[in-house]
Amino acid sequence: MRRLTLSALLTGLALAAQAPQGPALPENRSKTNESFFRKLENLPTPNVYRAASGAPGHRYWQQQVDYRIRVSLEDATQTVTGTEEITYHNNAPDELRYLWLQLDQNLRKATSTGANSRSAPNLAAMAGDGRPGVSTWALRGLESKDDRDGCRIRAVKDATGRDLPFTVVDTMMRVDLPAPLKPGQTLKFSVAWDYAVNNYKHAGGRSGMEEFEDGARLYNLAQWQPRLAAYTDDLGWQHQQFLGQGEFTLEFGDWDVEITVPWDFTVLATGELQNPQDVLTAAQRDRLAKARASAKPIFIIAPEEAGKPESRPARSGTSTWRFKATNVRDFAWNTCRRQIWDAQGVDVNGRTVLAMSGYTKEGMPLWDRYSTAAVVHTLKVYGRYTFDYPYPVAISCLGLGGGGGMEYPMLCFNGPRPEKDGTYSERTKQGLVGVVIHEVGHNFFPMIVNSDERQWSWMDEGFNTFLQYLAEKEWDPDFPTTRSIVQGITDYLKFPDATPIMTQSDAVRHFGPNAYQKPAAGFNMLRETIMGRELFDFAFKEYARRWKFKRPQPADFFRTMNDASGLDLDWFWRGWFYMTLAPDLAVENVEWFRLGDGDPAKTKARQKEADARRDQNISKLRDKALIPEGGEERRLGLQDFYTDGGWDRYGVTTADRQKFEAYQKSLEPDAKAWLGYSKNLYRITFRNVGKFPMPIIARLEFKDGSAEVLRIPVQAWLQNEERFSKLVATEKELVAVELDPFQEIPDVDRSNDSFARRIGPAQILNLAPPPPRMPNPMQTARPGKDSRPGEASGPEARQPGSHP
């Protein structure tokens, strides 16, 4: 028995540190496996199309749709009119009796599901004197003045010119085929259509037209023609209606597009320009060739040339610009009569890609300096984390209205622009760089890794926001980016109305935090902490490689990350993507142990100390002043062996020493070695308050001022999801434990992260100001009396009524 004592003590302590404490699992868990670490049951069963590894299955297929389009823009009426020949390749193992096409412009009909299903604004909150009121912009929306016919279908015909029956269902159109399209067959048919381009100022939207003060119009044209809906192995036809928020799901194909515009317009578009000799001057063609080898942007159309007749090869009528794009899922174009255009080459592993920007004078002087530079930077950084950019061009175009951005293959629209006086704020500059990185970055997700945006916004916005963060940090280490910072998401994690990331796009209420920020912060956490940079980067790149030019679903991503990293991350996918849990770890307790050697002198001394501590109670302390030493017994002279001072209850007796010597002799040599063990043993207990297991990162601070970081993998919570205790043996004396010292975990309650408890940094407490004075128009009407609190009164102060 004795032999066991010392060696077993350490083992016992270690075991106790790991053992479950208390009722960790509710009783009903005995019936089903409700472990947080069980395999994710939400995923579809793997099959021949989608493998269990997360890779495309050995019989993976996807449809292909090729377009040959002739389209014209009439500037006077802002009308787009076109005909398209569509070649549909049925690569599915299924027979198709009809095809579904998307008519996104139908969203603008007053009768569309999207328009009709939007809730009314709270006008009562805007009504009344002293309230902010309602904007004219909003009133236009309320009155549906932008109600349009949507996409007017003029004809749908087969390859022989016979009409094909079609049925428009809101923003979708079903075309009935005269005979079933069998697997492996190809069908050619054509659609003729037109639509009136929306005025962005009145109706907003991802595309449309903006009219400048001089009457010139800038067109961002996207979702401009009937496009095939996706037909997939897991959903069949993806024909969820376009409601405005959930974006697009499309098929890859080859596009050949002829765009006819007024002679003085220039066009930038998805794909490579096929007829520069028809639409560019000789000088412009020469500049374009030079730009390919240039390390800095070169003007193809300089600011002073934009809008001048001599900058165009034709001087009347129209010009037709022809573009070809291979293996793209969509096609967008940008056109304006006074467009500035710059370009430079980017070397992508020996292949030159043209990075370009198109903007008007409204974008100067910001765009000429930063847009193309940001395009180049994006291709380089994103390529490093995914794959080489495969397309021949990457274009950033001035977006409508000055805000936001929107992405399409090879071309995107970006809003930020300088003030009219040619100045811009630092925020505007950073806004432009950030949005160009983001929108160009969308080429990788979802334009090439072709996820279903209508279903899962996070699969492109989340990935892209994460990579945008990496690119922004490389652009400027102090770039004010917060959307991928782990700590930046804690407020949303705590918000009671949050929805899981795995929510269909149109049902997501808080789109920014849900589709962009939370997934991006999650990827950052995986990369920095849970997986580590090396494993994450390898697995993420493998996902991108596997699904490049294919159509992944969430399960394909989750499985690939597990498969390529060698880590089972199902617990993370469950908590972060399928639930709305908020991680909250706590340091619950720290217990201190030291190994004893059995020496009775030490044992008795410790006993003496313990008894002395116990005697420090309030009664004893007060009685000390009232009761004479020795008490009544001494006053009466009744002392004996025990009280006359001859006996020390803490003294070491001969029997004690003999017992100790016998004990030492009985020990095996390995046990004897432990007698000199002098380390402090600390049993630190952590609690999973938030019910979302996370790796434990704790800084141990010692009395000598030194510190160590403890990293415990998430598997610590496997057997007990509520508490975990860790035994730490150290020569040093531990004085404090602090969880997550590097802010790696989005812990929503920092108050329980330290042991001993810490007082946080001082917050500034200001004296309350006097109550606001009653308005005194007579006083403010006096010259020099119109300043408000905090306003400057010098010459730089804002003039009344000239609000910036």
């Binding site: 904007s135 909003a138 939207g205 004010p480 407020d491 918000f495 808080h510 589709a515 905090g790 306003e791």
Partner: protein, 164 residues
């Protein structure tokens, strides 16, 4: 007056799609106690600082450990974050504390709130800057925790009962 002009341009977004990739959010926690309300706001410094500078008409460079002038903050916030009692009276906020780190300004505003019955909160912070701005406020105390989402369509919400 200038404030009102700015507030008037808040977008209602009634029948139009919002622009893509422009979804800014602020977060706050409104703690209700008997007779008082306390609103803790976390605002990105690169959002609030230019707004305050535009409001003040001058640069407001912040060095480490510095804070904004409370009077300026109050003047800026008083028409953007408005607490009203059941009778519609505005209950004035005072800035109880502010703390700035590298990224965020964390503000605590306090106001008397005799009763939550009929009380309403308006939060149109940054609405005049971003049409898709959302301000999320978690309400704690005097009832279960609940979330309020302020956006262009719902700039003002009752404190009792969530998701109105």
């Amino acid at each position: 007056m200038a404030m009102r002009t700015r507030a008037c341009i808040l977008g209602v977004a009634a029948a139009v799609a919002a622009p893509a990739h422009d979804y800014p959010v602020t977060y706050g926690v409104l703690t209700l106690a008997k007779g008082r309300a306390s609103l803790r706001l976390r605002l990105a410094l690169h959002h609030i600082q230019p707004e305050l500078e535009a409001f003040a008409g001058r640069r407001l460079p912040l060095k480490d450990g510095e804070i904004f002038e409370p009077a300026l903050l109050e003047a800026y916030l008083q028409e953007r974050i408005v607490l009203r009692d059941g009778a519609g009276r505005v209950l004035p906020w005072t800035v109880a504390s502010q703390d700035a780190d590298a990224f965020d300004l964390v503000l605590t505003l306090e106001a008397p709130l005799p009763s939550t019955k009929g009380a309403r909160l308006r939060n149109i912070l940054f609405f005049d800057r971003h049409r898709a701005q959302q301000n999320l406020v978690t309400v704690e105390g005097l009832g279960p925790r609940r979330g309020l989402t302020f956006d262009a369509k719902r700039p003002e919400l009752p404190l009792e009962g969530a998701r109105k």
